[in-house]
């Protein structure tokens, strides 16, 4: 009956998106009249993991086998399904991510569970188990009935507004039995950009397009992003031209973001770009062309030259 939340750690800390999933899972547990248990895999401390209690979890299972340090999908899927059977969980919640989805998919096949990604709201239990998800890259939604005895929900960022409490969770060590066949995939190297805010996790995003004219001009984009504590993003041609790394490319064929604030500077607002950003809460568009299609999708707009406007916005933020 219980709800199990699969979380991810980043340098020992629970990821922000995972904490959101913990809160979502705890609300689902309340609706079902059961408890929410968290699974955390990798190096961390009891103090850090107990924080899951602030987000509504009662218990945290901590699996910390040294072989689990790298994001090995098959091993993680085995650990998660063992935790599911130990806890008798029927509903599994996780935040959308490249690791999370990969693990969840394998667990769905192991458990023959109904699996749905891009969940945007709390489930509806009024007649069965139904969830709302976004489809067509945010251009529509579907209400889906989960027919399986077990259900897996990969939740989209900002599906729920989190309310923190002062509760804390108990932390238990979880010792799964791992098989050698879990480790046939070898991770031979990991490159992570340090110090930057992860784009899929960011609450605030400053994004720029071809209107910036060249990579040498990105200083004004980064300045505004740093001033407000935002991640930076870009349109597809900008990453295709290697002005910015591919990991910043948002849109239909790039990263899908749903931050609280998305500022688009010098981006025309092509339908494929909008597809990746249209579920942002507030969209600001800065473009010198008053006819740019992006204004139709925006909440606030400024018709002006990015080289003039961006530095002035940065200055205004710093003056606060």
């Amino acid at each position: 009956m219980s709800v199990l939340i699969f979380t991810e750690l980043d340098n020992g800390a629970l990821k922000k998106s995972s904490l959101e999933a913990v809160y979502y899972g705890s609300e689902v547990a309340k609706m079902k009249g059961t408890i929410a248990t968290v699974l955390a895999i990798g190096n961390s401390t009891d103090d850090e993991l107990a924080k899951a209690g602030n987000f509504g979890a009662s218990k945290v299972l901590h699996a910390n086998d040294p072989r689990l340090a790298l994001g090995n999908i098959q091993a993680y899927a085995d650990v998660l399904s063992m935790a599911v059977s130990q806890e008798g969980a029927t509903t599994i919640i996780l935040a959308m991510s490249s690791l999370g989805n990969a693990v969840a998919a394998r667990v769905a096949a192991k458990l023959k569970a109904s699996i749905v990604s891009n969940v945007t709201e709390l489930p509806d239990f009024s007649n069965g188990f139904k969830v709302t998800r976004s489809i067509y890259t945010g251009k529509a939604f579907a209400k889906v009935e989960m027919k399986g005895e077990k259900q897996i929900l990969a939740v989209k960022k900002n599906a729920i507004s989190v309310v923190e409490s002062s509760n804390s969770a108990t932390v238990e060590t979880f010792t799964p039995t791992l098989k050698d066949s879990d480790f046939v995939v070898k991770v031979t190297g990991t490159h992570k950009e340090s110090g930057t805010i992860l784009l899929p996790e960011a609450d605030l995003v400053v994004s720029a397009g071809r209107g910036l004219k060249g990579p040498e001009n990105w200083g004004i984009v980064e300045d505004l992003a740093n001033a407000i504590g935002a991640a930076t993003a870009c349109s597809k041609p900008v990453s295709d031209l290697d002005w910015r790394p591919h990991s910043e490319h948002v849109g239909q064929t790039g990263i899908k973001v749903s931050p609280n604030l998305y500022i688009a500077a010098g981006i025309s607002g092509a339908i494929q770009h909008l597809a990746g950003v249209n579920s942002s809460k507030v969209i600001v568009v800065i473009n010198k062309d008053p006819e740019a299609p992006f204004f139709k999708a925006a909440d606030y707009g400024i018709v002006g030259d990015v080289f003039d406007i961006l530095p002035r916005l940065t200055k205004a933020v710093k003056a606060l």
Partner: protein
């Protein structure tokens, strides 16, 4: 090497999405269907690998007869033959079962997919298929090279990348820059017409049921701020939108 490429037939990225039958069915009228853009990357890399090392490329689609136009285009780009599982792909699980059933009969060295479909965007079919077949699944893969029976890959992770090595067989979800999209040439289009396309019937059941579709609420009017008062934006984002 025997490669299977799984492709979706999806509405063109500029398509206007609407529904019929009391919002219970996708409205195909006036919509152009294309190969999923990520599936196109998978296919392009498969054709490149075949050109380098020999072997065959089979494309597989779970879909109704109207997806044959997309399948023929994949054949024109360089796939050797095709399989279509004749049904509406009901959900991720159902689709994965169809793919795994074919793959367990045919024993492919490599099963390439897109990182996600652009209709349901779930990003899970590769993991489901990998688990059903009992082989590793990795996604999103942005570089893939084969040395003997070992695949060397780069996988994108949040904020970075991982270098990975694994033995074949594997299921991979692909994304750029794994290959450049290929465009069919005249000769390809001519030969595609006579390449074999096998139609098989589906097995198994779906695990979800889509009850209703909805469109997003229309966006309210955009509040324009004159360029000379641009600084006002910051105040509005704090006091009105409450996002700063």
């Amino acid at each position: 090497m025997k490669i299977l490429v799984c492709v979706t037939s999806v509405p063109d990225t500029t398509a206007k999405i609407s529904f019929t039958d009391g919002d219970t069915k996708f409205n195909k009228a006036g919509v152009t269907f294309i190969t999923g853009p990520y599936d196109d990357y998978a296919l392009s890399r498969a054709v490149e690998l075949k050109e380098q090392t020999g072997g065959t490329v089979t494309v597989l689609n779970v879909g109704e007869a109207d997806s044959e136009q997309v399948i023929r285009k994949c054949l024109a780009i360089g796939a050797d033959d095709a399989i279509r599982v004749n049904c509406e792909p009901k959900d991720s699980y159902f689709t994965a079962v169809q793919i795994a059933t074919i793959a367990s009969e045919e024993k492919y060295d490599l099963i390439l997919m897109g990182r996600e479909s652009i209709d349901y965007n779930s990003g899970v079919v590769h993991g489901l298929v990998g688990e059903i077949l009992g082989i590793p699944s990795l996604s999103p893969v942005m570089k893939l090279n084969i040395e003997g029976t070992t695949a060397k890959m780069t996988r994108e992770i949040e904020g970075g990348k991982e270098e990975i090595e694994a033995s074949l067989p594997l299921v991979l979800g692909c994304q750029e820059p794994i290959a450049e999209w290929k465009i069919p040439n005249m000769r390809g289009i001519m030969t595609a017409r006579t390449k074999p396309l096998r139609v098989v019937e589906p097995v198994g059941e779906d695990m979800t049921f889509t009850e209703k579709y909805m469109l997003p609420a229309p966006k309210g009017a955009c509040k324009m701020i004159p360029a000379e008062n641009a600084e006002e934006l910051i105040a509005l984002l704090r006091s009105e939108a409450k996002v700063l």
